[in-house]
């Protein structure tokens, strides 16, 4: 673990006012009726969530993270660049991470432009990540899941060409034709903002990150899979002549800090259960539209899904995923151990989930910034001194 530890505050901005009978719906994604979205309550939530991320900047988080999902209570950020644009003038130091818009769901030149605008507006604080998009996004958008991976690669190529080559250039591909690829503005950071691939660690997405030398922002993957993902990326990137730095491998962890272990669990576990049971509730069909996965991957995941019967179990969740809940000491020690094991210096903390109220979010953000970050930084400094002696 390097001394330059970095802490992100990540927020999903869920719509929390689910109707009482929401469990009658097999999914809170894709087809969950949008008549249950109340714009007045949505307005209050945007106001509140933006304040929470602005607070993260004030409290000294190194970065704030937003992302994109469609047709769901899980996230009110169908276009996260709008959220990022609202955050830019309200924040001073935190890097703004849009992790991110699936390039397949936007014209590639336009995504290159929007990211460049955010980068210039924020004077170089933007970081971007490129997801393929969950299977659910392909039910909500008019793009074929069966050609998604090829389109994704082509989009990425166009965006990087737009950022790294002086325009106008041309692109004649399978999905897009550009006779004058010449976006104004260009990004503030040269050659371009730091880039990550987002995913669950499939060999295909690791290969793309490895080829470009990008970081990899994993989403909900079990600890062992996240570990293997990091190892695979380092190995495959080396094959392409890239060295992956520790800060390129963000470790996604759920965090809740309170005065005692008992209090932390009492204040948090209900929200975590609500998150897994309701906000992540979807169907196998929505998760894997035709062609989104290879047949082998589909069978592997179908076999795994068969084993995941039963209700929510906090111990099972927290032993298989990265979930740090407890006192500052406990949370700091746990994250320190994970970071060392994962060989990363980049901690991506989910600070709000499900229907967690504002006061808990503020408490969590504050205690983590004031009590956990200093402990982890001190641990890292001590480690550095030992290494140097």
């Amino acid at each position: 673990m390097s001394a330059a530890l970095r802490f992100n505050a990540m927020h999903f901005m869920p719509y929390v006012h689910l109707p009482e009978h929401h469990q009658e719906f097999k999914s809170t994604w894709v087809s969950f009726p949008n008549k249950y979205y109340d714009p007045e309550r949505g307005h209050d939530l945007y106001e509140r969530y933006l304040q929470e991320l602005v607070l993260a900047d004030r409290l000294g988080y190194d970065a704030i993270v937003v992302n994109e999902h469609h047709n769901t209570v899980y996230s009110m950020m169908a276009t996260p660049n709008l959220i990022a644009a609202a955050l830019v003038p309200q924040t001073k130091n935190a890097r703004i991470c849009v992790w991110g818009t699936p390039p397949n769901l936007m014209l590639p030149n336009r995504l290159a432009e929007e990211y460049a605008i955010l980068d210039v507006m924020s004077k170089g604080r933007l970081e971007v990540a490129f997801p393929l998009g969950t299977g659910m996004e392909y039910w909500a958008n008019p793009i074929s899941p069966a050609t998604a991976r090829d389109r994704f690669k082509e989009s990425l190529k166009i965006i990087l060409q737009a950022w790294t080559q002086d325009g106008p250039t041309t692109h004649y591909g399978q999905f897009y034709t550009y006779r004058f690829l010449n976006p104004w503005p260009r990004p503030f950071q040269r050659p371009h903002p730091p880039c990550y691939i987002v995913g669950t660690g499939s060999p295909e997405t690791i290969e793309i990150a490895a080829e470009y030398g990008f970081g990899y922002a994993s989403v909900f993957v079990p600890q062992q899979r996240a570990y293997e993902l990091n190892e695979n990326l380092r190995r495959r990137a080396a094959h392409f002549g890239h060295t992956i730095r520790p800060d390129q491998l963000p470790l996604l962890t759920f965090v809740y800090v309170a005065e005692t272990q008992e209090q932390a669990e009492r204040e948090y576990i209900g929200h975590l259960e609500h998150f897994f049971s309701d906000y992540l509730r979807t169907t196998p069909q929505y998760l894997a539209p035709p062609g989104y996965l290879s047949v082998d991957q589909l069978k592997t995941r179908a076999a795994m899904a068969d084993k995941l019967h039963g209700g929510f179990d906090f111990n099972a969740i927290s032993s298989s995923f990265f979930v740090a809940v407890g006192t500052p000491d406990k949370v700091a020690n746990q994250i320190g151990e994970w970071a060392a094991w994962m060989k990363t210096s980049h901690i991506n903390c989910v600070m709000h989930i499900a229907d967690m109220p504002h006061w808990k979010t503020v408490k969590n953000l504050t205690l983590f910034a004031e009590e956990v970050m200093p402990r982890l930084r001190a641990q890292a400094d001590a480690g550095q001194r030992v290494a140097a002696e």
Partner: protein
């Protein structure tokens, strides 16, 4: 009754499996968007005809080709295959998506098709009686929508959840998605239907839950010369539910 013989051809790099049986005038059968229903229903035809059942690329026993993104790719594939098989003129029978393909083939290469039989064909844009968007239906709900009498299909489905079966269906759905996800219908298809001049028979179950039987009226407008037979109490796989469908096609082709 002839026994089907399995042969493999390589067509532009795609492994293509063809089952054939019987003697007489050749009859080609194009299966639909899935292959669970099988082709054993066609055995009675082998008494009078040489029955040729190819698996389309991306379905059943044939190989995959991800570059097939348009039904026209299948027309070109079959021109190649028929050349290799030495098939000049033949009868063509198509079911559902295979009916769409058969009608498209016949509208483009009518001189090669002696007679055309379409079983609940897809392909029409009929806003008053639209086809069910099968890609939007959860896989487990599809079998129940295919027939009125579930017993005819039940014996072809695994008794317990079966990963290989799920994988094979997902593969075929992927093939269909490549063709139809972004553009489920092609308005140009209907524009050229009038080129179909050969004798044509259209067969439909009146309880079809995938493609409404009312589409027969739209077919009648495009193909006024076609004979249309509707079978009561049968669903989309009318040829499995009503053996008289198989006989009617044999009579028509004779």
């Amino acid at each position: 009754m002839g026994k089907f013989k399995r042969e493999t051809y390589t067509i532009d790099g795609v492994e293509t499996v063809v089952h054939s049986a019987g003697n007489g005038e050749p009859v080609v059968f194009f299966h639909g968007a899935g292959t669970v229903d099988g082709f054993d229903f066609a055995e009675p035809w082998t008494e009078r005809f040489k029955v040729i059942v190819p698996y389309h690329p991306g379905f059943g026993e044939s190989g995959d080709d991800a570059s097939f993104t348009d039904l026209h790719d299948y027309v070109m594939h079959y021109l190649e295959l028929f050349d290799q098989l030495g098939l000049d003129r033949f009868h063509l029978v198509g079911l559902s998506l295979g009916g769409y393909l058969a009608a498209k083939f016949a509208s483009e290469h009518g001189h090669r098709v002696k007679k055309l039989a379409l079983i609940a064909p897809a392909g029409l844009i009929d806003p008053q009686h639209p086809m069910l968007d099968i890609l939007a239906v959860p896989g487990e709900e599809v079998p129940g929508l295919l027939v009125s009498n579930f017993d005819v299909l039940k014996k072809r489905l695994p008794e317990k959840p079966d990963l290989d079966f799920i994988g094979e269906r997902y593969r075929e759905a992927t093939t269909v998605a490549r063709l139809l996800w972004e553009h489920p219908a092609d308005p140009k298809f209907m524009r050229y239907l009038h080129r179909i001049k050969m004798p044509t028979l259209i067969l439909w179950g009146d309880e079809d839950k995938i493609i409404p039987v009312q589409q027969t009226e739209t077919w009648r407008k495009f193909l006024p010369q076609a004979d249309i037979k509707v079978y009561r109490g049968a669903g989309h796989l009318v040829h499995l539910e009503k053996p008289e469908v198989v006989n009617a096609i044999a009579m028509f082709l004779s």
